[in-house]
């Protein structure tokens, strides 16, 4: 039974692992930290998996566990070695439609997002993942009105960071 559970979990995680990678991308800024957070989120997902009832989508459930791990539970582990930080965009330069200005703009944008605090990043993440305010508020435990207000503030903050 346990093997079966493990198997179905790994299969699901493998399929949806991009969600975890995206959380890691916002909350870390080097490859080692990225992998370390990925590892921790995987452990937390696996622990919570037996209680996952399937009444919500696996991916939705992953958003919550992933963000909660990044915002609340995660502690930088000792096994992490500090390597040179990279810009989130720098390692994907080999994209086919390489456009210098667009690439440059994205680089600045990702850099600006990295300057936001943990909660602001969570809002940005859920927004980028196309979640509505109802889901954003339910994930963070704030009211829908406050989620909207905060989102507007985050947008303003990003503008200020980009155009000081």
């Amino acid at each position: 039974m346990n093997k079966e559970l493990e198997h179905s979990f790994v299969e699901q995680l493998q399929k949806h692992q991009n969600i975890v990678h995206k959380v890691c991308r916002l909350y870390t800024n080097n490859a080692d930290a990225h992998n370390d957070l990925f590892q921790e989120i995987t452990i937390q997902l696996w622990r919570a998996y037996p209680k996952f009832r399937g009444d919500s989508k696996f991916s939705t459930w992953m958003y919550r566990v992933g963000l909660n791990t990044a915002i609340t539970l995660y502690r930088k582990s000792k096994r992490r070695i500090n390597t040179q930080e990279f810009d989130a965009v720098e390692f994907k330069i080999k994209a086919e439609e390489y456009d210098d200005t667009e690439e440059q703009q994205l680089k600045l944008l990702y850099r600006a997002v990295h300057q936001l605090n943990d909660i602001e990043k969570a809002l940005v993440f859920l927004y980028l993942e196309d979640k509505d305010y109802r889901e954003i508020s339910a994930t963070l435990g704030i009211t829908e009105v406050n989620a909207r207000v905060k989102m507007n503030r985050v947008k303003k903050k990003l503008k200020t960071i980009l155009n000081p």
Partner: protein, 210 residues
């Protein structure tokens, strides 16, 4: 165009070269140890329980003088009552700790998860305050008991001048205060480091509600 909209376009493209983990790579991850703060908090609370239990039990086994004194003290019903009381408190704390750990759920919303962790930390804090208070109270009580039961000590105190007595009290208060301060700072440091990020994020969420 809105900055986030530009980002969103790129985000949806999924172009980033994340290292996609294979099933074979994910399986061993499930066996690794978590480094979450809840786990650390759990070990700290376990350590506290063991430490304070040992601190109250070990002297009995390690020193024959203390054992003799304690055996005499056990004839005093008050002493037995205090002991029963402190064990009851320890059991209550174990129960409360267990209960609050059970309420911590990663699938709760972020705010409730943080509150669960902070509540657990509070239980541990109260346990520490309880122990420190007991230690603080035990100083004058044992002083009084020694005065009652030990004739040499009784005589020494009776013969002491007011200035000498004042000195004894002053030293007692200062030593106790320094001890408490060190323990308190130690806890502030441990929890300060451990929960710094959580506190910051919790404050940020709370701020939204004002």
């Amino acid at each position: 165009m809105d900055e986030l909209e530009i980002l969103k376009k790129d985000w949806d493209k999924d172009r980033a070269n994340f290292k996609s983990f294979s099933g074979e790579e994910i399986y061993p991850m499930l066996q690794r140890k978590s480094s979450s703060i809840v786990k650390t908090l759990f070990y700290i609370s376990l350590g506290e329980l063991v430490f304070w239990l040992l601190a109250s039990i070990l002297p009995y086994f390690l020193s024959s003088t203390i054992r003799e004194k304690l055996e005499v003290s056990y004839e005093n019903p008050w002493f037995i009552a205090v002991n029963i009381f402190s064990y009851a408190v320890i059991l209550t704390f174990i129960y409360l700790l267990f209960k609050s750990y059970k309420t911590i759920s990663i699938t709760d919303n972020a705010k409730r998860l943080m509150e669960g962790i902070l509540k657990t930390r509070k239980v541990i804090k109260y346990y520490v305050i309880f122990n420190l208070t007991m230690i603080f109270l035990s100083v004058p009580v044992s002083f009084y008991m020694e005065y009652q039961d030990n004739p040499d000590f009784h005589q020494m105190i009776s013969e002491a001048s007011t200035a000498q007595m004042f000195m004894v009290y002053a030293v007692m208060v200062v030593v106790a205060a320094i001890f408490l301060l060190i323990v308190w700072l130690f806890y502030r440091l441990i929890y300060g480091i451990l929960l710094k990020r959580l506190n910051k994020n919790y404050d940020e969420l709370k701020k939204l509600e004002v």
